[in-house]
């Protein structure tokens, strides 16, 4: 895949399929330490992105990301809607009006996305949120992008690998942000649904990029 507007659109379609496939898993994770809606909400939002891309894919990768952002903001709700919405919005702003993204641009976009999530949600590493998947992902992406001749697929694969590990690390954590924090110590022993969905999204994008 080349990281043009159409390439990003295809990657988002792949992400939508991944979330649809893992909808029940995400609901179940959220049922354990939250309110059982994360998979439903995210699935509704991603499906809405696919529909929004249907009439015509916007001109640039940035415009596609912006459409994704506004769709998430107006269709998902809950905590994840504004957080993921902000992530995509910051990424869109970061990449600007170029017609194709290179490895460095993707890494920068991911960093901007994480910063957006942290700016909105105020979570830091270790709070047992999607930040625990996204922060290592951004770092790994930057590192991969620094490697001579790295392509977008390599950057996203590194990010997805790191996100998967980061997500796993939330199992042992006690939540300090989001709904799971109400549980206190009882939140430990469970995978954070948002961290899991972040890992799923990045994996789908990485695979689409190959």
């Amino acid at each position: 895949m080349s990281c043009t507007a159409n390439g990003v659109a295809d990657a988002l379609r792949a992400a939508a399929s991944a979330i649809a496939e893992h909808r029940v898993e995400l609901i179940e994770l959220d049922r354990a330490i939250g309110d059982a809606d994360h998979g439903e909400n995210l699935n509704r939002g991603l499906a809405a992105i696919v529909s929004a891309l249907d009439p015509a894919v916007p001109d640039t990768p940035g415009a596609v990301l912006k459409l994704a952002a506004t769709t998430l903001i107006s269709k998902v709700g809950g905590a994840a809607g504004p957080l993921y919405g902000t992530a995509f919005l910051r990424a869109a702003t970061k990449v600007g009006a170029v017609s194709e993204l290179d490895a460095a641009a993707v890494a920068e976009a991911l960093r901007a996305a994480v910063e957006g999530v942290q700016a909105r949600g105020k979570a830091v590493e270790g709070d047992k949120t999607m930040v625990d998947a996204l922060l290592p992902a951004a770092a790994a992406a930057e590192e991969a992008a620094g490697v001579e001749g790295a392509d977008v697929a390599a950057v996203l694969t590194a990010a997805a690998d790191a996100a998967a590990k980061g997500a796993e690390s939330t199992v042992d954590l006690v939540a300090r942000k989001g709904r799971a924090s109400y549980l206190g110590e009882r939140s430990a022993g469970h995978l954070d649904p948002g961290a899991r969905s972040s890992a799923l999204l990045l994996r789908a994008l990485a695979e689409a990029a190959r």
Partner: protein
Amino acid sequence: MKKIINDPADVVTESLRGFAAAHADLVRVQYEPDVVVRADAPVAGKVAIISGGGSGHEPLHAGFVGPGMLDAAVPGAVFTSPTPDAVQAAVTATTGEAGALLIVKNYTGDVLNFETAGELAAAEGLDVRSVVIDDDVAVADSTFTAGRRGVGGTVLLEKITGAAAARGDSLDAVEALARKVIGQVRSIGVALTAPTVPHAGEPSFELADDEIEFGIGIHGEPGRERIKLEPADALVARMVDAVVEDLPFTSGDRVLLFTNSMGGTPQLELYLAHGIAERLLAERGITVARRLVGPYITSLEMQGISLTLLKLDDELAELWDAPVETAALRWRA
């Protein structure tokens, strides 16, 4: 899962259709985004009072739309806070020169989505303020949590600010009043059974036959602590202690006592619990001057109750007594 529904994805919209048909004298309902608006909105010169949140807590919020209370309610998907565009639609339908107050329950999702909506409204030159209610004493209010949740106090806040707006208070005054109420209202909840979210299809948590969740929220989040079921006298005492000692409420205080059913608890048990709470407060020298008993902020079919105490003064009592005409609360002065 046993529910009287069609497709789980359509539950909220289909339910709103029934609500609209039942209460056409009080409200009109807009769809996509879904908003419930006072039938005669916008009311010229009046501060608009708007609230919203995930569905599944009915009658909160749509049941409180009408003269003397809310101008609009914004129902999200079940247990999911509504999106900013829906809140914006509510603002557009109700808000004029006098501005609007958004009543936001303290959950990450609600706070973030209403925050964005507030920014959108400001961009349109409207004076829209937000207050965040966080009355649940079950959650430690520390940097280690998302902060206390907004629960039963929300109902009282909506009634009292609604009355203030109805008598013509300015947005400054209504906002200050709201902060005062938030400062002196406290709640605690308990669950005997779990709710089942339609799209999830399974109960939100599992409880043994002799277990209850103490310090439950209203979204099927497990409670703070799992304890053994105990007789009503002991359970209500535990709840009264938690609420009273938090603010604290002390001898000589005049309060409003709100005994709320989480949905599945029958009235027989609810009034029984209310009677015990009245007795325990009297023993502490606290005067119950007003009361509300019923299922007003629920968690689908969850069995359980919550107790909310609001410290009253003459002004708050007067605003509480002021006429209200909504689907769920209705009285005259």
